[in-house]
């Protein structure tokens, strides 16, 4: 019976941690998407200073979340966002609008992909 109790405890703990992880990922995705969308909009109206500041803020925020996400998200997906994020501020500073917008879209798509693949859905399970 002791083993049964341990097993039930493990299962409940894993389920709670899974929900917590998904909740954290959802919040992170929302926050990062909002920041990046603002940077994207600023670059579109040629506000490169604003875009650069937002890109730097995105990078800082991402590094804060990265240390937790790396615990349960495949590392190559995290690394992809980290390396692209590092390019955003210099691209905005040099006014390279096309490349900046493309990199923003790439990060947005990766963030969406990470969340979709972790979210509980028939598509993800299959």
């Amino acid at each position: 019976m002791n083993r049964v109790r341990v097993s039930i405890t493990i299962l409940i703990t894993v389920m709670l941690l899974s929900i917590l992880g998904l909740w954290y990922l959802h919040n992170t995705q929302q926050e990062m998407t909002q920041l990046l969308t603002q940077a994207y909009a600023a670059a579109e109206v040629d506000d490169y200073d604003g875009a650069e500041q937002l890109a730097e803020e995105f990078d800082r925020t991402w590094h804060r979340h990265e240390q937790y996400l790396i615990l349960y998200i495949r590392h190559h997906q995290i690394d992809e966002i980290t390396s692209t994020s590092a390019r955003l501020a210099p691209l905005a500073a040099n006014g390279e609008e096309g490349e900046f917008l493309a990199e923003c879209k790439k990060i947005l798509a990766t963030l969406e992909h990470i969340y979709e693949s972790e979210k509980f859905s028939i598509k993800s399970v299959l």
């Binding site: 049964v4 039930i8 493990i10």
Partner: protein
């Protein structure tokens, strides 16, 4: 390299704990579900070791979930006969009074070579020498022989036991120079039995390679060979 080392260390400890939670069955006696879980665990554990892109938790969580589910399933099977039948199946008779049940063997996908191999491993070379052969849920074959072919037991030949025949088997009291306290306690002899024995044999515990003893005080002492540390 260090990442791989520490990941291996963590997963090794986890698997040792997981197998302790699963219980003590030997590999050859595993039920089908236990066998599958054991193989799955060994495969899953290699993933985060081989590929450092996979978070360690990606190996830890499935192992813990599999072990927990296995423990819960076996606990449920213990309480409920239907669950037990569903998870483990039921034993099947493949030989009755020396006649092979070919249909049953076909259902079990058990070949005649498999059957003969099992019989031979039980020192039986003729199917006629078998009253019942039962394929257990673990895949082992249990054999019940007719009276004429059964090994003789003491009661069959009417042998009377001597006073020492019903003693418990000898316990290991000293193993490679180390005293096994629990065995000495279980032996239920007087406290001064061992010091007296050591005095009589003119040796110390560290000089003994193996000492076994029985409740009546009889013992077998093998000294450590000279030159061995």
């Amino acid at each position: 390299m260090t990442i791989v080392f520490f990941r291996t260390l963590v997963l090794y400890l986890l698997i040792v704990i997981a197998l302790r939670i699963m219980g003590k069955r030997q590999l050859g006696e595993l039920q089908p579900s236990e066998f599958v879980v054991t193989i799955l665990i060994s495969n899953i554990a290699t993933l985060p070791i081989e590929d450092t892109n996979i978070p360690l938790i990606g190996g830890v969580v499935p192992i813990l979930v599999l072990v927990s589910l296995e423990v819960l399933t076996s606990a449920l099977a213990l309480k409920n006969y239907k669950v037990r039948r569903l998870v483990s199946g039921r034993p099947r008779i493949i030989i009755r009074d020396g006649v092979i049940d070919q249909k049953e063997m076909e259902k079990l996908r058990f070949s005649i070579d498999d059957l003969m191999e099992e019989l031979r491993s039980n020192s039986i070379f003729d199917v006629k020498e078998v009253s019942f052969a039962i394929v257990e849920t673990t895949g082992k074959v249990s054999i019940y022989q007719p009276f004429d072919n059964r090994p003789a037991t003491a009661s069959m030949v009417g042998a009377q036991p001597s006073p020492t025949d019903n003693l418990p088997p000898p316990s290991v009291i000293v193993s490679d120079g180390v005293l096994v306290d629990e065995a000495l306690h279980d032996l239920q002899v007087k406290k001064d039995w061992l010091p007296k024995l050591l005095k009589k044999e003119k040796c110390e515990v560290k000089d003994i390679f193996l000492l076994t003893a029985q409740n009546d005080g009889s013992y077998n002492l093998i000294r450590r060979e000279k030159g061995r540390s």
